[in-house]
Symmetry: C2
């Protein structure tokens, strides 16, 4: 698996009253599949970040969590030489797009939300669709990251995990490393 | 792409007050990636089914939607010769499991929910994990279906669509077939 530069995921237009479960799923997918950071624009939600940190405490890895400014964050990222990839059902098919995305720069995956300005299509260098059907930003992020990192992204292990699940067809094995 | 027999997705333990958005995402992923049916056990939610039908009206295909009984539905499916695949973070890694799952029988993908009895692990012939990290049933379903149907599952087209999105990097093209 080629890791490349830093990869972060940004959720735009977060609404604490409406989106916490979907957005938590987005963040957990980002973590599980190897993102370095998960950033929220829109409402703040420290409780969600605490939950995410507690997952990393138990299952390993370290997901950076931050509240950021949204559009101006994306603009600065691009201005500083970063690559911004906007996931949208109106973008270029992802398998066609991925080979065109440079991997030698920090990558920001931008996931839309409520009231995202149309400018986002121009600010991001890549507008990428995971299927041109309406489905789910959670699924889109997972399929994009699997294609970006290679098949093993969804079966990633974290070295500093305290709990390790070894699943089988007949029952789970949970290793609690802190027993050692 | 090998289509095989009928493939349905069942969400167990649905709670209308808590789960509608995540479950709608699950259903939309099921539809977009080629499931024949999406079934709910737990609370009924005809409004969700109407929304799903309206997506199929516009974007094509026909997703069967049904309220079913839950555990006894799964039991009957297996008793009648069907294959039941339970998605769980405690299962066997999906890429190892998929070659063992027979494709000549109707497949039911079972997605857990609140208060799912532990018996589900015994009733289903396959307990399959998409990563042994906590993340999202929406992502797990998408990655499983992509691996099951082959890479084109996420870029599926539906012949009888009224709206067809042709995404590009620079702007969307929406074809309204009913204009013809």
């Amino acid at each position: 698996m080629y890791m490349g530069e830093k990869l972060d995921v940004l959720r735009l237009g977060y609404r604490r009253g409406r989106d916490p479960r979907i957005t938590t799923h987005l963040a957990l997918v980002a973590r599980a599949m190897g993102a370095d950071g998960f950033f929220l624009a829109g409402d703040t939600d420290n409780e969600m970040f605490e939950n995410l940190n507690s997952v990393s405490d138990r299952f390993g890895g370290s997901l950076e969590t931050n509240h950021v400014s949204g559009m101006s964050y994306v603009k600065n990222h691009v201005k500083n030489g970063g690559v911004a990839v906007h996931l949208t059902m109106y973008g270029e098919p992802f398998r066609k797009a991925i080979p065109k995305i440079r991997r030698d720069r920090p990558v920001l995956i931008v996931v839309g939300g409520a009231k995202v300005p149309g400018d986002i299509y121009k600010i991001c260098q890549h507008n990428v669709a995971v299927g041109n059907q309406p489905h789910s930003e959670v699924a889109a992020l997972a399929l994009f990251m699997e294609a970006w990192f290679g098949d093993s992204a969804s079966e990633r292990k974290f070295d500093d995990a305290r709990l390790i699940i070894e699943g089988t067809n007949n029952g789970k094995l949970v290793r609690d490393m802190s027993d050692n």
